[in-house]
Subunit: 478 residues, 2 copies
Amino acid sequence: MQKIDLVVSGPHFYTMAGPGVGYQPDRAMAVDRGRILAIGSQAEILASYQAERHLDATDQAVLPGFIDAHMHTAEAILRGLAQDTSHWMMYGLGPFAEVLESSQGQAAREVGTQLAFIEAIRTGTTTFGDFGNGMDSVCRWVEKVGVRACITVTIREAVRRIYQPGELYEFDADMGRRSLTENLEVMEKWQGGAGGRIRVLFGPQGADFVSREMLLEVRRLALEHQTKIHMHTQQGDRETAQIMKRYGQRPIVWLDDLGYLDSNLLAVHLTDANEEEAALVAQRGASMVLCSGSIGIIDGIVPPAHAFQKAGGKVALGSDQAPGNNCHNIINEMKLTALFNKIRYTDPEVMPAWKVLRMATIEGAEALGLGQEIGSLEEGKRADFILLDLNKPSMTPLYSEPMRNIVPNLVYSARGDEVTTVVVDGRVVYEHGKIQTVNESEILATAQGLAQGIGVAASKRFWEIDGSNAHFMREGKL
Amino acid sequence: MQKIDLVVSGPHFYTMAGPGVGYQPDRAMAVDRGRILAIGSQAEILASYQAERHLDATDQAVLPGFIDAHMHTAEAILRGLAQDTSHWMMYGLGPFAEVLESSQGQAAREVGTQLAFIEAIRTGTTTFGDFGNGMDSVCRWVEKVGVRACITVTIREAVRRIYQPGELYEFDADMGRRSLTENLEVMEKWQGGAGGRIRVLFGPQGADFVSREMLLEVRRLALEHQTKIHMHTQQGDRETAQIMKRYGQRPIVWLDDLGYLDSNLLAVHLTDANEEEAALVAQRGASMVLCSGSIGIIDGIVPPAHAFQKAGGKVALGSDQAPGNNCHNIINEMKLTALFNKIRYTDPEVMPAWKVLRMATIEGAEALGLGQEIGSLEEGKRADFILLDLNKPSMTPLYSEPMRNIVPNLVYSARGDEVTTVVVDGRVVYEHGKIQTVNESEILATAQGLAQGIGVAASKRFWEIDGSNAHFMREGKL
């Protein structure tokens, strides 16, 4: 008998192999040194391998871990401070983001990241697509907490200040250079880091936030470093207005002329893209990240992911940020994606449960270019998986005939606490109601301790800006 | 010192009194014989009353219990069996509903109700608007589990069989008479039952399912019994087609001519109503129940609740049924209501968090005609309230300056397990992770035990109908 690290056995495996959900009943999976060695009948696997640890998934389902492809985790410290408002970035997030980006905000950003990861791990996320600055400390955290991450450093030349409507952003080439250098440094230090769990991408914030020259340089570097460009793409009417004014074209058309739409691009949001533009991006071979909750709250818009898929593109899901989503929970994103698209098309058959589960797993992995490594439970892939408690009221009862209802119940009924166990790279990161690698209650207490100072520092600007939430506070509605 | 049953004290009370959320910091609430005696400073209340039980809500928020105004709880036994399909009632629910409505389904219906209540209590629901048949056993269950309910018996004359498109329903006057008699019997036996916690309404299933004469008789009886008519109203294009064919008018216009739109009517769904029709119903004084999740899944439609409110109407929330929602969780309904309406109007300021929280509490109570008794925490009202854990990751961090973020986090981030304690009529129904009045694990096991038989019995029809979910099973997508 071969000695290995881990075996998991149970009645319901959703491997996500093949074109559907890859359901296999009564299976066991052998895991060693972070990799899936074999999936087979329980008798066969248990007779072939002697595992140091046996996870018994009776009354549970086994699935690949979820992929959250686009997050701004640091901002979790601002949960619930920016929603129900127009001009979200300026009127909602603005006063708080200023404080968070100042030196005063550094510690808060770090604990914000930790808070976001805690929330997401507990709801089954194993791969984190974090986007922002200060990524060296995020990488150290990823290493410690034990998850997988695609790390993107924000590259930006547009000076951060209030712009009048129609005013072109002012570019600061030195600032852009510094942010590109930061991206390269993080790449140098962390590409393949944390035992191979970290991958670093390039992150121009958007075609409107950097110059044409910077975009082209990033593209050259991405090809050289064989990694992707993770970029907000036609993310709203503000971007469209900037690119129209600067170059006389809509963003996607302009990016296409620049040769930017290809398999190196992970295009986030496409909020202001029409279906033809979305289809063009897909046809050129780029992938998309859909942040349903965030774009729903911030813009009241359902991005054209369905058109993107119909054109052959792969779409991953993302939770974006807690001030304006307001949570990092991929089960929530699956549900909202299914429902929002049914509403967009007035068609209950659009985006069925199995489809959005694929977006949260194998299709998401493919979108990130990690389809060979994660996203499904198959021999040779990394062992990122979760167990789901089928005895929770939200998952009860369980049918197997004439149809199985586990997938629809996961997507439309589950809340998050059905996830009992989270394994990344063969290591149990979460079980028995606790993340095993870090002290959660300490982190929550630190987050709480730092929040009040952020709020006090943001107070003057909050009342000056006088947005919806200022009105609501005055009117006794919060 | 006056001896009383219960005091609850804590830093954050959302009383829902007044036009906003009625926030009061550092309060205590005195409860005796099911009623709120006083809310005041902790010093004042603790000095005036000696309580048998003191609920310490440190690190928690205190809110009124949630009101779920429209449910078909028995169908929870069919969770996850009917979604992602067009013609939901026929192709999705059809094969399973047939079995559930047969004599074989009786036990399954009862345990379905119990399952729905368990799920909903755990997410903070204290008032249950159940609609269906077999209500005598539901009332016994309400009495036992200890919650509040508005019970409606389905009155129906339309024969249950498959109809061709455009074919008028066949009416069976005897069947209608029997269902009306059942409604009257339940009213006779249970009106004011379970210590005053049960209220019984009249339930014509819809203007298309009963004759004009039956509608008028129900109206006469509702006035005589001083109770409301709880009716699916313009709930879809199928109803519109029936009423157009039978009477030559759209349902709401026809009901208005019949004198049916007044404060006695609780109009459910309005799925196929335009904004003018919704406004008319509101202007006539009727209330509305909005089932966002259910109508989103079943029809891909956002009903015109926003127009209803703008016309001065009160709107309650409802979770409808688990095969086609697929959960009974009012936090989910609040979130979907806010997001769906932002999307319907492409406006992030529509349906802010405080507004949907009012719909789940005081506005819902007013819609049901119970605004004097429940829906807010005020002296003289019944003591229906919940405690919410603010130390969960989903609610962290907590800000009080410059704005409080508890309400947005409850609506947009909470999942349900933030609810730690549920009190109905002054009695603790749920705490320490357990419903105190019934054996939950026994109920879940019974539900699981009965489900398989339902599935087997429905199997032949399921494959004959060959709907989306049959396709998905064959294609390995479930």
